[in-house]
Symmetry: C2
Subunit: 107 residues, 2 copies
DNA sequence: TCGATAATTGAATATTTTTTCAACTGTTCA
DNA sequence: TGAACAGTTGAAAAAATATTCAATTATCGA
Protein backbone atom coordinates (compact mmCIF):
# COMPACT_ATOMS: atom_id res chain seq x y z
CA UNK A 1 0.00 0.00 0.00
CA UNK A 2 1.38 3.40 -0.91
CA UNK A 3 2.10 6.23 1.50
CA UNK A 4 -1.04 8.19 0.70
CA UNK A 5 -3.46 5.31 1.19
CA UNK A 6 -1.61 4.22 4.31
CA UNK A 7 -2.16 7.69 5.73
CA UNK A 8 -5.78 7.67 4.69
CA UNK A 9 -6.38 4.32 6.30
CA UNK A 10 -5.00 5.62 9.56
CA UNK A 11 -7.32 8.63 9.49
CA UNK A 12 -10.45 6.50 9.29
CA UNK A 13 -12.59 6.18 12.43
CA UNK A 14 -12.00 3.07 14.51
CA UNK A 15 -13.70 -0.05 13.30
CA UNK A 16 -15.67 -0.07 16.51
CA UNK A 17 -17.13 3.35 15.80
CA UNK A 18 -17.93 2.36 12.24
CA UNK A 19 -19.77 -0.70 13.44
CA UNK A 20 -21.76 1.30 15.97
CA UNK A 21 -22.61 3.85 13.33
CA UNK A 22 -23.66 1.25 10.79
CA UNK A 23 -25.67 -0.45 13.49
CA UNK A 24 -27.53 2.73 14.29
CA UNK A 25 -28.47 3.32 10.68
CA UNK A 26 -29.39 -0.29 10.17
CA UNK A 27 -32.07 0.27 12.78
CA UNK A 28 -33.63 3.00 10.65
CA UNK A 29 -33.14 0.86 7.59
CA UNK A 30 -36.07 -1.48 7.97
CA UNK A 31 -39.52 -0.38 6.83
CA UNK A 32 -41.27 -1.83 9.87
CA UNK A 33 -39.03 0.03 12.27
CA UNK A 34 -39.20 3.20 10.19
CA UNK A 35 -42.99 2.99 10.39
CA UNK A 36 -42.89 2.49 14.14
CA UNK A 37 -40.68 5.54 14.51
CA UNK A 38 -43.05 7.36 12.18
CA UNK A 39 -46.10 6.59 14.38
CA UNK A 40 -44.32 7.64 17.50
CA UNK A 41 -43.59 11.08 16.11
CA UNK A 42 -47.28 11.81 16.60
CA UNK A 43 -47.43 10.66 20.18
CA UNK A 44 -46.84 7.84 22.61
CA UNK A 45 -48.49 4.51 21.92
CA UNK A 46 -49.07 1.07 23.41
CA UNK A 47 -47.72 -1.96 21.64
CA UNK A 48 -51.12 -3.24 20.54
CA UNK A 49 -51.92 0.19 19.11
CA UNK A 50 -48.77 0.20 17.00
CA UNK A 51 -49.56 -3.30 15.82
CA UNK A 52 -53.09 -2.25 14.92
CA UNK A 53 -51.99 0.88 13.08
CA UNK A 54 -49.37 -0.99 11.07
CA UNK A 55 -51.50 -4.09 10.54
CA UNK A 56 -48.86 -6.38 12.03
CA UNK A 57 -48.76 -8.97 14.77
CA UNK A 58 -48.01 -7.80 18.29
CA UNK A 59 -45.13 -10.24 18.39
CA UNK A 60 -43.42 -8.89 15.30
CA UNK A 61 -43.81 -5.35 16.60
CA UNK A 62 -42.45 -6.34 19.98
CA UNK A 63 -39.38 -7.89 18.40
CA UNK A 64 -38.69 -4.70 16.49
CA UNK A 65 -39.32 -2.55 19.55
CA UNK A 66 -36.58 -4.49 21.27
CA UNK A 67 -34.20 -3.54 18.48
CA UNK A 68 -35.29 0.10 18.74
CA UNK A 69 -34.82 0.02 22.51
CA UNK A 70 -31.37 -1.47 22.07
CA UNK A 71 -30.42 1.46 19.87
CA UNK A 72 -31.85 3.87 22.46
CA UNK A 73 -34.28 5.26 19.93
CA UNK A 74 -37.45 4.48 21.87
CA UNK A 75 -38.23 3.75 25.46
CA UNK A 76 -41.07 1.82 26.98
CA UNK A 77 -42.75 2.53 30.30
CA UNK A 78 -44.86 -0.07 31.97
CA UNK A 79 -48.32 1.22 32.88
CA UNK A 80 -50.18 -1.57 34.57
CA UNK A 81 -50.35 -4.41 32.12
CA UNK A 82 -49.60 -2.21 29.15
CA UNK A 83 -46.34 -0.69 27.98
CA UNK A 84 -46.35 2.81 26.59
CA UNK A 85 -43.68 3.56 24.02
CA UNK A 86 -42.17 6.95 23.21
CA UNK A 87 -39.28 8.29 21.16
CA UNK A 88 -36.21 8.43 23.36
CA UNK A 89 -34.18 11.02 21.54
CA UNK A 90 -34.74 13.96 19.30
CA UNK A 91 -31.99 12.85 16.96
CA UNK A 92 -34.56 10.41 15.66
CA UNK A 93 -36.65 13.20 14.22
CA UNK A 94 -33.60 15.11 12.98
CA UNK A 95 -32.06 12.11 11.27
CA UNK A 96 -35.33 11.21 9.59
CA UNK A 97 -35.79 14.78 8.44
CA UNK A 98 -32.38 14.73 6.80
CA UNK A 99 -33.23 11.49 5.13
CA UNK A 100 -36.44 12.94 3.76
CA UNK A 101 -34.59 16.00 2.48
CA UNK A 102 -32.19 13.77 0.61
CA UNK A 103 -35.01 11.77 -0.91
CA UNK A 104 -36.93 14.84 -1.95
CA UNK A 105 -33.97 16.46 -3.64
CA UNK A 106 -33.65 13.46 -5.87
CA UNK A 107 -36.95 14.11 -7.59
CA UNK B 1 -59.66 0.30 14.87
CA UNK B 2 -60.68 3.25 17.00
CA UNK B 3 -61.07 6.81 15.78
CA UNK B 4 -57.77 8.04 17.19
CA UNK B 5 -55.65 5.30 15.67
CA UNK B 6 -57.51 5.57 12.40
CA UNK B 7 -56.61 9.26 12.29
CA UNK B 8 -53.03 8.50 13.22
CA UNK B 9 -52.71 5.90 10.51
CA UNK B 10 -53.88 8.42 7.94
CA UNK B 11 -51.28 10.95 9.05
CA UNK B 12 -48.38 8.61 8.44
CA UNK B 13 -46.23 9.21 5.37
CA UNK B 14 -47.08 7.13 2.32
CA UNK B 15 -45.74 3.62 2.33
CA UNK B 16 -43.70 4.54 -0.72
CA UNK B 17 -41.93 7.33 1.15
CA UNK B 18 -41.30 5.06 4.12
CA UNK B 19 -39.77 2.44 1.89
CA UNK B 20 -37.53 5.01 0.21
CA UNK B 21 -36.48 6.37 3.56
CA UNK B 22 -35.75 2.95 5.00
CA UNK B 23 -33.86 2.13 1.84
CA UNK B 24 -31.68 5.18 2.19
CA UNK B 25 -30.77 4.35 5.76
CA UNK B 26 -30.21 0.72 4.94
CA UNK B 27 -27.45 1.90 2.65
CA UNK B 28 -25.66 3.52 5.59
CA UNK B 29 -26.41 0.48 7.70
CA UNK B 30 -23.74 -1.84 6.41
CA UNK B 31 -20.20 -1.55 7.80
CA UNK B 32 -18.55 -1.98 4.41
CA UNK B 33 -20.59 0.80 2.88
CA UNK B 34 -20.13 2.99 5.93
CA UNK B 35 -16.37 2.51 5.59
CA UNK B 36 -16.46 3.38 1.91
CA UNK B 37 -18.35 6.57 2.70
CA UNK B 38 -15.84 7.21 5.48
CA UNK B 39 -12.87 6.99 3.09
CA UNK B 40 -14.48 9.24 0.57
CA UNK B 41 -14.89 12.01 3.13
CA UNK B 42 -11.14 12.52 2.84
CA UNK B 43 -11.06 12.72 -0.91
CA UNK B 44 -11.89 11.01 -4.17
CA UNK B 45 -10.58 7.50 -4.75
CA UNK B 46 -10.31 4.79 -7.39
CA UNK B 47 -11.99 1.46 -6.80
CA UNK B 48 -8.76 -0.44 -6.27
CA UNK B 49 -7.64 2.16 -3.74
CA UNK B 50 -10.80 1.73 -1.71
CA UNK B 51 -10.36 -2.03 -1.88
CA UNK B 52 -6.78 -1.71 -0.72
CA UNK B 53 -7.58 0.65 2.13
CA UNK B 54 -10.39 -1.54 3.40
CA UNK B 55 -8.58 -4.82 2.74
CA UNK B 56 -11.40 -6.18 0.59
CA UNK B 57 -11.69 -7.59 -2.89
CA UNK B 58 -12.30 -5.17 -5.75
CA UNK B 59 -15.39 -7.14 -6.64
CA UNK B 60 -17.00 -6.82 -3.23
CA UNK B 61 -16.26 -3.10 -3.20
CA UNK B 62 -17.66 -2.68 -6.67
CA UNK B 63 -20.90 -4.40 -5.70
CA UNK B 64 -21.30 -2.05 -2.76
CA UNK B 65 -20.43 0.98 -4.87
CA UNK B 66 -23.31 0.06 -7.10
CA UNK B 67 -25.64 0.18 -4.10
CA UNK B 68 -24.20 3.54 -3.07
CA UNK B 69 -24.61 4.86 -6.61
CA UNK B 70 -28.21 3.66 -6.64
CA UNK B 71 -28.88 5.68 -3.53
CA UNK B 72 -27.20 8.72 -5.10
CA UNK B 73 -24.67 8.86 -2.31
CA UNK B 74 -21.57 8.52 -4.46
CA UNK B 75 -20.81 9.07 -8.09
CA UNK B 76 -18.15 7.54 -10.27
CA UNK B 77 -16.37 9.23 -13.15
CA UNK B 78 -14.49 7.20 -15.67
CA UNK B 79 -10.92 8.39 -16.12
CA UNK B 80 -9.31 6.23 -18.74
CA UNK B 81 -9.47 2.69 -17.51
CA UNK B 82 -10.03 3.73 -13.92
CA UNK B 83 -13.15 5.05 -12.21
CA UNK B 84 -12.81 7.80 -9.67
CA UNK B 85 -15.43 7.83 -6.94
CA UNK B 86 -16.61 10.84 -4.94
CA UNK B 87 -19.38 11.63 -2.49
CA UNK B 88 -22.40 12.84 -4.41
CA UNK B 89 -24.17 14.82 -1.78
CA UNK B 90 -23.35 16.69 1.38
CA UNK B 91 -26.24 15.09 3.20
CA UNK B 92 -23.95 12.12 3.50
CA UNK B 93 -21.62 14.00 5.78
CA UNK B 94 -24.48 15.62 7.69
CA UNK B 95 -26.34 12.37 8.25
CA UNK B 96 -23.20 10.62 9.43
CA UNK B 97 -22.39 13.48 11.76
CA UNK B 98 -25.83 13.19 13.36
CA UNK B 99 -25.33 9.50 13.74
CA UNK B 100 -22.02 10.05 15.48
CA UNK B 101 -23.58 12.61 17.78
CA UNK B 102 -26.23 10.12 18.79
CA UNK B 103 -23.63 7.44 19.46
CA UNK B 104 -21.43 9.74 21.48
CA UNK B 105 -24.27 10.94 23.67
CA UNK B 106 -24.91 7.40 24.73
CA UNK B 107 -21.57 7.09 26.51
C1' DT C 1 -2.18 -6.63 -31.90
C1' DC C 2 -1.40 -8.65 -27.45
C1' DG C 3 -0.89 -8.73 -22.59
C1' DA C 4 -1.76 -6.44 -18.41
C1' DT C 5 -4.69 -3.75 -15.55
C1' DA C 6 -9.26 -1.60 -13.74
C1' DA C 7 -13.71 -2.37 -13.07
C1' DT C 8 -18.28 -4.48 -13.60
C1' DT C 9 -21.44 -8.29 -13.69
C1' DG C 10 -24.13 -12.72 -12.74
C1' DA C 11 -24.70 -16.75 -10.34
C1' DA C 12 -23.84 -19.50 -6.31
C1' DT C 13 -22.91 -19.63 -1.62
C1' DA C 14 -22.84 -17.90 2.91
C1' DT C 15 -24.63 -14.98 6.28
C1' DT C 16 -27.91 -12.05 8.52
C1' DT C 17 -32.29 -10.52 9.47
C1' DT C 18 -37.32 -10.64 9.83
C1' DT C 19 -41.52 -12.90 10.71
C1' DT C 20 -44.32 -16.50 12.53
C1' DC C 21 -45.86 -19.54 15.96
C1' DA C 22 -46.34 -21.35 20.43
C1' DA C 23 -45.22 -20.98 25.08
C1' DC C 24 -44.73 -18.06 28.93
C1' DT C 25 -44.89 -13.91 32.48
C1' DG C 26 -47.34 -10.45 34.66
C1' DT C 27 -51.53 -7.72 35.50
C1' DT C 28 -56.42 -6.80 35.95
C1' DC C 29 -60.93 -7.69 37.45
C1' DA C 30 -65.02 -10.56 38.12
C1' DT D 1 -58.85 -18.08 42.33
C1' DG D 2 -59.09 -18.09 37.41
C1' DA D 3 -60.16 -16.16 32.91
C1' DA D 4 -58.84 -12.62 29.81
C1' DC D 5 -55.63 -9.42 28.11
C1' DA D 6 -50.84 -7.09 27.09
C1' DG D 7 -46.52 -8.01 26.15
C1' DT D 8 -42.12 -10.66 25.77
C1' DT D 9 -39.34 -14.47 24.38
C1' DG D 10 -37.04 -18.49 21.83
C1' DA D 11 -36.80 -21.39 18.10
C1' DA D 12 -37.91 -22.44 13.39
C1' DA D 13 -39.03 -20.97 8.88
C1' DA D 14 -38.88 -17.51 5.39
C1' DA D 15 -36.80 -13.68 3.16
C1' DA D 16 -33.26 -10.47 2.19
C1' DT D 17 -28.42 -9.30 1.77
C1' DA D 18 -23.32 -9.65 1.31
C1' DT D 19 -19.33 -11.97 -0.43
C1' DT D 20 -16.88 -14.96 -3.45
C1' DC D 21 -15.59 -16.70 -7.77
C1' DA D 22 -15.30 -16.84 -12.65
C1' DA D 23 -16.31 -14.59 -16.80
C1' DT D 24 -16.53 -10.28 -19.33
C1' DT D 25 -15.78 -5.38 -20.99
C1' DA D 26 -12.84 -1.56 -21.72
C1' DT D 27 -8.52 0.89 -21.79
C1' DC D 28 -3.61 1.44 -21.90
C1' DG D 29 1.01 0.85 -23.51
C1' DA D 30 4.78 -2.17 -25.34
Amino acid sequence: MNERNETLRRQLPDDEVIYELANLFKVFGDPTRAKILGCLQFGDLYVYEIAEILGMSVSAVSHQLRVLRGAKLVKGTKMGKEVRYALDDDHVTKIMEYGLTHINEDR
